[in-house]
Symmetry: C2
Subunit: 220 residues, 2 copies
DNA sequence: GCCAATTTTGAACGTTCGGTCAATTGAAAT
DNA sequence: ATTTCAATTGACCGAACGTTCAAAATTGGC
């Protein structure tokens, strides 16, 4: 089972209108807890007991909303990909070239800062060979990349930027921005801090923008 | 137990001269198998049974050379850090500035291509918060980084390159080069290939060099 | 207050996995 | 040939884990 095999994963289990508890939905509590636990221990390292305890429900209750552990994991991935697309890839490409690039980089770094668990889950999934989101990447992410590559090729053809491999340009931007989520612990150690703070993310943005702008021949 | 707590991990179990099998050492077979399996499934996902089968020895035999699963994992990390330091961080810093930077980037990409399993293990370890190599990073890697940062500051002071945050410059170089190991599966999917080939790595090198050189104001 | 449907849980089950141990093998030393 | 000790193994154990299920609790409708 992969992410997009079951597009209606998020469901009120069945039938009539909701009659459940008046306060908050247990399903969201479970999803939040799962995001945290999966983000810290990975798919195989996370235990259903830990997720249930973090969510404040009985372990068996997970299986009321989700078929099994993998199903819950896929739900997290799906939510991650949606937030991803919503926060980031809805980019106004009609604006000034510099603005487009700078905003894109800033949004990616902000996402790394605000959703480190999601970034780690995504990275772990890719490192493992994308067993659950390979199809999603092939059918959703790849067309988005091809769009962006055409945009860059356009810029090159118009002489607005220096020639560069568009695919590798985006791979590098993703790598740098994502690193400030995945490798944050290493960076914090090396900077002799407990964790990265806002000035660190500001410096990250500035450096990445400087590298990209310089690499494609744009002045700051 | 962390990596450097036990500097004598690699050992002929004890005592006299080796009297064992004439052919190859079982310990290396186990290490190679463990590198492969840990690289594919992570610390918690890898099973001792799989490692033993891949190594062609009985499961119990793992515990003749290593205390437990974590000990074996640390041995892999230790070997990775050593190869790392040997292959990469032994860099002739007296050469021409462009040569130093370009060689450094090329070596990192080559390492990603030649040791993808080690790169993945290292990345997973960092993503998990560096529980086993945190001390190593703090006491060994950080001084090396500080050396490199001083070198960059020197270059800036001499007006050889544009001002830039030295720490973030190296973080970005690591991120980009490491991505061509960790995210290779994603890149392959997006390029509609089975796996990355030599031309892909050549393009990666060229793009990273272009970004770094452009970012610090060096001409290609 | 009672009923029906939904939501929640405690306890248990079968499996998997890390780790142990006594026993066996095999090569050198005598 | 016998001894000796490192090298190797199959069988086993206890704990942890994912999953199931029947029962209990909670909610809304009448």
């Amino acid at each position: 089972m992969t992410v997009q095999d079951n597009p209606f994963r998020i469901r009120p289990p069945s039938g009539k209108a909701r009659r459940g508890p008046p306060s908050v939905n247990a399903e969201e509590k479970i999803l939040d807890a799962a995001e945290f636990v999966f983000g810290h221990f990975g798919l195989r390292g996370a235990t259903t007991a830990l997720i249930a305890r973090k969510a404040g429900v009985a372990k068996a209750h997970l299986y009321y909303y989700f078929e099994d552990k993998e199903d819950l994991y896929c739900a997290i991935l799906e939510r991650a990909m949606k937030e991803w697309a919503h926060d980031i890839d809805s980019l106004d490409t009609t604006a000034d070239l510099r603005t487009v690039l700078r905003d894109y980089i800033h949004r990616k770094v902000d996402f790394s800062r605000d959703h480190p668990a999601l970034s780690r889950i995504y990275a772990s999934e890719i490192i493992a060979g994308a067993p659950f989101i390979g199809d999603f990447i092939a059918k959703v992410s790849t067309p988005q990349l091809l769009d962006k590559m055409r945009m860059v090729d356009e810029w090159i053809a118009q002489g607005l930027i220096r020639p560069i491999s568009p695919a590798d340009l985006f791979f590098c931007i993703w790598a740098m921005t994502q690193a400030y989520a995945d490798f944050a612990s290493q960076m914090a150690i090396m900077k002799n801090r407990r964790q990265l703070e806002q000035p660190d993310y500001d410096a990250a943005k500035a450096t990445i923008v400087q590298l990209v702008f310089g690499g494609v021949g744009l002045v700051g």
